[in-house]
């Protein structure tokens, strides 16, 4: 967890747990690991699934044009974006 993106343990655990449930290997995955081809290797449908898992768990959504952007993020960047989205919608989800 070298970059210190400041994502919470809860969000990190959610992301890694989701990837595990989606049958991706998370061995060696940390905040610096890209979600896309150079890292976890999520493809279009798995990014979509991550999106619906976020919506089900936290009640916030990433729009379709943002979903493409998620594929270019690292785990840490995604966690930070998710944390910001949750903070901006405090009533959502819980």
């Amino acid at each position: 967890m070298s970059t210190g993106t400041g994502i919470t343990d809860e969000i990190r655990a959610f992301v890694l747990g989701s990837l595990t449930e989606m049958n991706y290997s998370v061995a060696g995955v940390d905040d610096d690991t890209p979600l896309g081809p150079a890292g976890v290797d999520l493809e279009s449908l798995s990014l979509a699934e991550l999106g619906i898992r976020v919506e089900e768990r936290f009640g916030v959504m990433f729009e379709e044009d943002e979903a493409e952007l998620l594929g270019t993020m690292t785990v840490g960047e995604f966690g930070a974006a998710l944390a910001a989205r949750i903070a901006a919608a405090p009533a959502a989800g819980q």
């Binding site: 049958n23 991706y24 699934e49 619906i52 089900e56």
Partner: protein
């Protein structure tokens, strides 16, 4: 030279995954039919069923894709990979990617849809997987096989119920004769062992009943005590190849696909024509397409599902076509159960093996032939038939779809050892 040969076989069946295993089970009466596990999803829906072997989805697909994928696709991928390996074909090395096609048929992954409907009912909209369609659509068997092997030519899936597998072979033959491909991977995969489908078959009174204590006796084509079909799961794939193409790469054929016929009863959505009129016309078309007379056929692998009306209609149809001297007939669903559309491909392979081995597999459980099904039945044990020449395989489906296929000795220079 428009000769088309079978140059590879792959199958996943309740009686094994190789030609040798399947052949052995049929000749020795080793049944693939049993009771569902107590407490399993099917327990309470069917008394008996024919379960195929367990195959880990991860053995044919990447982890994330293996998670929401129907069993029909897993079996299709396994059978197709085995068939291509059996034919010694690597796409790009042995055949131009645009000169090989795939026709892989079936009902689709309805069990996976059923499971997602349950999840949606419990969890709402967000419970539905984005992977559902690629995991269950009926064309995804063909698509996944194309993706896995780099098959870039013609591809399709046929939805003619229990005739779909045989029809895939017939359409493959048509493509190859027309010169539109050099190789066609033709097959069908069916995974019908889930509650909703089993329940509708059961409620329609189509399933064998009263065999819970004697599961291996439940499927008994042409027998007086038959009272319905036994649902089974499985996949069958044949590699069809222009004989010239096979010769050019030094490959040996199992058999030639000599001809096929396809008709529709135009009678009833689920019940066959009682006199087997459409089925008889279908067999005649197949003979004519092959340039043969009825007397040229030395063995018929019947559709024979073990239903009262279906077996009788088929027996009448065979009589109408072949007259008093019908060729020897057997129904091998007695040991495999009814793998729906996949049956036609597995049974084609069985008919080809019978042709090549000069040995005809019996109809297991045919203890007391129904007088209404008056045929030259092969019973109890395999019947030697060293010079049978040509063989026929019949497949008839809900919707009145009929397909007959005729096979003969291979037209390739080399003949595949069996």
């Amino acid at each position: 030279m428009k000769d088309v040969v079978v140059s590879g076989m792959g199958m996943v069946t309740p009686v094994g995954c190789s030609a040798g295993e399947v052949w052995g089970a049929m000749c020795e009466g080793r049944s693939g039919i049993g009771r569902p596990e107590a407490g399993s999803l099917l327990d309470g829906s069917v008394e008996v069923a024919a379960f195929g072997p367990a195959i880990e989805p991860e053995s044919v697909l990447s982890g994330p894709e293996a998670r929401v994928v129907d069993r029909y696709i897993v079996m299709a991928l396994r059978a197709a990979a085995d068939a291509l390996a059996d034919a010694g074909i690597e796409v790009g090395r042995d055949v131009d990617p645009y000169r090989i096609g795939v026709i892989l048929s079936g009902t689709g992954g309805l069990a996976t849809l059923e499971a997602q409907v349950v999840t949606r009912t419990q969890r709402g909209r967000l419970g539905v997987s984005p992977y559902l369609l690629p995991g269950m659509l009926p064309n995804m068997g063909a698509a996944r096989v194309a993706i896995r092997h780099g098959i870039r030519g013609y591809s399709s899936s046929i939805a003619t119920a229990c005739a779909a597998g045989a029809q895939s072979v017939g359409e493959g033959l048509r493509l190859l004769r027309a010169g539109e491909a050099d190789v066609v991977v033709a097959g069908c995969s069916e995974a019908p062992l889930f509650p909703t489908l089993a329940d509708t078959f059961g409620n329609a009174r189509a399933l064998a009943r009263g065999w819970a204590d004697d599961p291996t006796g439940a499927s008994r084509p042409f027998d007086r005590r038959r009272n319905g079909l036994v649902l089974g799961e499985g996949a069958g794939v044949l590699v069809l190849e222009r004989a010239e193409h096979a010769d050019a790469r030094g490959a040996a054929g199992y058999a030639s696909v000599l001809g096929w016929g396809a008709t529709n009863d135009a009678h009833h959505p689920t019940t066959p024509h009682p006199e087997g009129e459409g089925a008889a016309a279908c067999m005649r078309l197949a003979l004519a397409d092959a340039g043969l007379e009825p007397a040229d056929i030395g063995y018929v692998n019947a559709h024979g599902t073990s239903t009262k009306i279906g077996d009788r209609a088929e027996a009448l149809a065979i009589r109408r076509v072949f007259g008093p001297d019908t060729p020897p007939v057997s129904g091998t669903k007695a040991v495999t159960g009814h793998m729906l559309g996949a049956s036609g491909v597995v049974e084609s392979a069985v008919a080809v093996l019978a042709l090549r081995r000069g040995l005809l597999p019996p109809t297991y459980n045919l203890d007391d032939p129904d007088p209404a099904c008056d045929l030259d039945h092969i019973r109890k044990s395999p019947r030697p038939a060293p010079h049978i020449g040509q063989v026929m395989s019949n497949s008839f489906g809900f919707g009145g779809h009929n397909v007959s296929l005729v096979y003969g000795l291979p037209g390739t220079r080399l003949s595949r050892a069996v």
